[in-house]
Subunit: 716 residues, 2 copies
């Protein structure tokens, strides 16, 4: 009796250990990203092909073959053979160059796939074909197929999937400096080992390329937009060339940020005037050199006349003059210029208006290989902003959204905040510039305008940390950016679930609980940092903790929180309505009227557009002050809820990641309280009203919080 | 030592008892309404006049004198004398007929006061004058002055207050039947003792008139809009005349609801065709009779061709034909017709559109003494509705709002729900029909249109219950209606505080805590009954508890909840957008676009205008189903918070009212849970999704709730 019970216990232990995610390593450290968990849904078991058929050979096909073999064999625990002649029960991967595959597809549907699209279709003889116009398209189809096998709840024996990306260029921007630091990077130093290159090639380069390709990212700007001119030196181009070679079979092009003053700084010219023949020639020569070294080089990203960077304005020229000059240099080789619209100067009365004011007059003046890269919001990657008013308004210029994956303003890699909801809210916002349903998605992906280029960029959150992103859950932001760049209509809740399944577990309770946490997490950050449309309340320089009181003598006013919150004895918020700076006039109707009127303005943007009295009555029966206290505290409660939820899931996750995330969540709760107390107590010095006692009592004293100095050592 | 301590304790006890509100009665039963508490703010002590100067005599002046003497003597605990010749230190009350008073005022400012306005001004010799063009205006000024003494925190020694009402006619509608019942009344039987009248005059009539006059109400429609023709019989007119006599010195006119079929039912005519000469003559004769008996009779309120009531449509005539015929009969005597726009028939696909569809074609066809009485929302006094689209759109017809003070759909007199926020939200809503800032207030109070009449009506919550309204806090809804009818720009939070101070206590903690509760209370009801724009989920007939499932064979579909919530496996809500019934098209831009687009539509009206999928993603990161569960539970938590707050205030309120309110709040919590569970569990049968475990677990089972039969015996 005793023995039998023991055996049962042992069996349970054995089967439990069998059920833990197979990862090929003892410590699960996050280094495998969304390739970590290789559970298979029971429903997909019968979908396993008997053979893999690849008629072609190439570097990319080798990747396809390896991914399929590794994954199918791991997933199904069997040995799926690669065959050279088609047999029933095969998974066939190929391009339209292979005529024996194209018979199952119409010419028109293949044409619509473009460069990167693919079709996965089950045809006769139980064969499934992944077809594309290019090998890279076939690679995307392969990753898609593997993901389906692993995460889909659907029957996978009769597939007919057509995927075409929303944007042609799906880019990561790395704000990596040549000295190995990463601006606004919170996951260790730069991936790019410039000192060792070109001789030594870190295995991380390929792992990075694979991760990107698996979600459809096809370009990387390797260096910081605050660009060192050195990147264009031949020495560095040779290093870049090595990275480009690793990326190439994964379909990833390299791009570089360039310093507009390069011709004078490294070229020996007296200036960088875009009207100067010498300067023009210098760039032409440089372009030629680049393309000699990197034949498929993507193009330039330029931050000009912004935050101290040089630019065409230095020579009395416009942004168009500067961008076109570079575009002409790259044009013979098919390169593009991504010119950032992130400009503002301290003299304006409203930083939120300046990008629009400066770029709108240039509409229509840019070359067809120039694309204006516009941050999602009019200020700078705040937890919540309205959309930049340029979207949809610059009708004769191609625009691309710039999103920030790294969380400069949302708690670095310390806070769990899934940005899928932020990205989607932005993409789904209707600009109304061409009537109803001309969302940011549609005005940037070519659905509305006849764009010569379509592109989207995300500022990467990737570094040398073992888990790549500093926080296990921050990987999801890289993932969701890629997925939305591929398909801007996706449900980000589905993406979150899919990511959780691939990264952690298929356990239903785990996936539903943590996807709820992820979906709510960005709003929690908004609540405890900058609710109701507040913004830019963070500390000077580091942008981490709360410093709504921050005043620094001689500082640019538009770098100080008081410029944005405008708290006074009357109320709170920035009057950008028609009675204030009239930033609302930059939006199309009805957005203009909606934002202009506090009664119509969405509450989540209320103090972005309006300065409202402390006793302003909201429709829910609360006054502004009470609502502010309520939301700050709600953010804390949400963070606490996240921590509690995670703690209930201990037996569903490997212990290493469980503990690491647990520690981060505890930090997040502590810092949510810090934010809440700091902001509420500071604003209370203006409102002169009590914190409703049923809400909370501050843990800290304002005076103590004001003395806190943030320790930056654990960040770049 | 011991003795001293005892003395201190005794002193504390004595002083505590001295601080309890003086009420002149042992049991505080609510019968004294907002005259209950006669504490005086310490700051106003020095404002006590030494004398009262009234040069005139009349019934109204007698009231003024009595109110001032009683109140000043009680408030200041001294004997303030009434003098006949002006002395320094007097409070003078008079009209512009008294030339010795008018010297302190300009002609133009006096002219602007109209019939009901007043000025309170401190002039030389420490005299304060309350002046008006009419005795009634002086009475309003008197009540205002007393209220200021009691509740103001300002220095009252240098007053200069000018008050002119927003609406000329500020009416209560009593839905009282001649048999003594009250339709949708939850405070006992009717005040009007028709059986005893005209011989016996209840003291309640004067108490009612006084309460109304103190907040500026100047008209009462005595009988139900579902009117018995009998009210126009001479027998009843003689009874009405007695009530009118009691009301007259308080400035309150009586009005009657009339049954359109009266000429045939009580007049012996063959029909009530408004084009029939006999019918026209009958009404002319009746009007003459009425004005002989009641010379200052206000006019008729008519519910015609609505919910089975007779009307001009019965004879192929329009609402305008009917209204004008009555208006012509009343015109020689200065009477008005208030013609209700509350019409709908079961054939339409959207009840919310019908009032607009039926009345808009008649715009401009009404006599100048007709005013169309329009309910605040397009359906029927739900916890939240958008505004009726008629406001601002009928530009050539005078409109008056009809609000419901009695809480037919908000928990009767069992739930604490302060309607000030509902009324104010409605009045503050911008119609945009004449451009920005043409709010409902402004399009109805004469600011925008050149209205021949301005008026507002509230359906009374008054009955024979000792505390008048069934719930001590329901008195506040009568009070706030009156205050907003007087001044539609008031802060309802201030009104709530003022009411609390006059009704309960000046204690700061009490006033701030309970005003917060009051301000949040309507939103709590919205949350636990009909969040996110849901409506009409209540039980058949009684309109009390939740019955979203209600199906009754052969019933009018537009009387059933399913007509409104349209829950199905896909989602929830009524598609009134341009892809649905297009009710949004009845609103002016930008409201039309805002309501039409789920991304712009205020979340609190989302399911009023849209049918959205269960997984529809809201900007806060929650899907529709989760948000629905969240809001229902939030409503319960709010109700619980109200109960907790009240319980902390036990030592600040008299025990009788404390216990009575406590019991009501416990009921409210219980019934909030009932609503939450019923609605969430019912909708779950469509959504097929779990209730997020971190939110709540239902207390009830759906099957049990469906079996519940509501016991109506304790209501009319």
């Amino acid at each position: 009796m005793y023995n039998k019970a023991l055996i049962v216990i042992l069996l349970v232990l054995v089967s439990t250990s069998l059920c833990t995610p197979a990862t090929g390593q003892t410590k699960i450290d996050g280094s495998q990203l969304w390739f970590t968990n290789t559970e298979l849904n029971a429903e997909t078991i019968k979908a396993c092909p008997d053979y893999i058929y690849l008629s072609q050979k190439s570097e990319t096909y080798n990747i396809i073959k390896k991914e399929l073999q590794d994954n199918l064999n791991t997933l199904f625990n069997k040995d799926v053979k690669v065959i050279k002649k088609l047999k029933p029960g095969s998974l066939c991967v190929g391009t339209t160059a292979q005529k024996n595959l194209t018979t199952y597809f119409s010419d028109s549907e293949l044409k619509e796939l473009g460069n990167d699209g693919f079709i996965i279709r089950t045809v006769k003889n139980n064969n499934t074909i992944i077809i594309a116009n290019t090998e890279i398209g076939a690679l995307y189809g392969t990753y898609h197929y593997i993901r389906l096998l692993q995460t889909s709840k659907d029957d996978l024996v009769n597939l007919n999937i057509v995927e075409v990306p929303s944007y042609d260029r799906r880019l990561l921007n790395h704000w990596d400096n040549l000295n190995g630091t990463v601006e606004r990077g919170y996951a260790g130093h730069s991936l790019w080992q410039w000192d060792e290159l070109p001789a030594t090639i870190s295995p991380r380069y390929e792992a990075y390329a694979r991760a990107n390709a698996s979600i459809g990212i096809n370009g990387s700007v390797l260096n910081n937009v605050n660009a060192s001119p050195d990147i264009l030196k031949t020495e560095y181009l040779n290093k870049v060339s090595v990275i480009a070679k690793v990326f190439r079979p994964y379909g990833i092009k390299v791009y570089l940020s360039v310093n507009f003053a390069s011709p004078s700084v490294i070229g020996g010219l007296s200036d960088a005037n875009p009207k100067s023949a010498d300067v023009i020639q210098w760039w032409k020569d440089k372009a030629k050199e680049i393309y000699t070294i990197i034949p498929d080089f993507g193009g330039f990203l330029v931050k000009a006349n912004s935050e101290g960077q040089p630019g065409p304005n230095d020579y009395g020229c416009t942004h168009a003059d500067g961008a076109n000059m570079l575009a002409d240099a790259l044009q013979p080789y098919g390169g593009i210029v991504m010119w950032r619209a992130f400009v503002y100067n301290p003299k304006g009365n409203d930083r939120a208006k300046q990008s629009y004011d400066e770029f709108m007059p240039l509409d229509g003046q840019f070359r067809s290989n120039v694309i204006i890269q516009v941050k999602n919001g009019p200020v700078d990657f705040q937890p919540r902003e309205p959309i930049s008013s340029l979207f949809g308004q610059m009708k004769h210029t191609t625009l691309m959204p710039e999103l920030q994956i790294t969380k400069e303003y949302l708690g670095f890699s310390d806070h769990l905040s899934f940005l899928g909801t932020l990205f989607k809210e932005f993409l789904d916002t209707d600009t109304y510039t061409e009537g109803r349903n001309t969302t940011v998605s549609k005005v940037t992906d070519g659905s509305v305008f006849n764009d010569s280029i379509t592109a989207i960029a995300g500022v990467a959150n990737i570094g040398l940390d073992t888990n790549w992103c500093g926080h296990h859950f921050a990987q999801a932001n890289w993932y969701v950016f890629g997925k939305l760049a591929w398909n801007n209509q996706l449900s980000v809740r589905d993406v979150a679930k899919e990511w959780l399944m691939q990264t952690f577990s298929h356990d239903e309770d785990f996936v539903s609980s943590m996807s709820r946490v992820m979906m709510e997490s960005r709003e929690a950050v908004v609540n405890y940092m900058t609710p109701l449309g507040l913004h830019h309340l963070m500390g000077w320089g580091h942008h981490y903790g709360p410093e709504p009181w921050c005043v620094i003598e001689g500082a640019r006013p538009d770098w100080l929180p008081t410029y944005y919150h405008k708290a006074d004895s009357i109320g709170l918020g920035f009057n950008r309505s028609s009675t204030g700076t009239n930033a609302v006039a930059q939006y199309a109707e009805p957005l203009k009227s909606v934002y202009d009127d506090p009664k119509l303005c969405p509450e989540e943007l209320l103090l972005w557009f309006h300065h409202l009295p402390w006793d302003y009555e909201l429709n829910n029966g609360k006054d502004l002050w009470t609502e502010l206290c309520y939301r700050y505290n709600l953010g804390v409660e949400q963070a606490q809820q996240f921590e509690e939820t995670w703690n209930t899931l201990q037996n569903k996750v490997d212990m290493d990641r469980f503990k690491e995330v647990q520690q981060k969540l505890a930090t997040q709760v502590r810092e949510a309280i810090w934010w809440r107390d700091a902001c509420v107590l500071y604003f209370q010095t203006f409102s002169d009203r009590p914190i409703p006692h049923e809400l909370f009592k501050p843990v800290h004293k304002l005076e103590d919080l004001k003395k806190l100095k943030f320790n930056m050592t654990h960040h770049n």
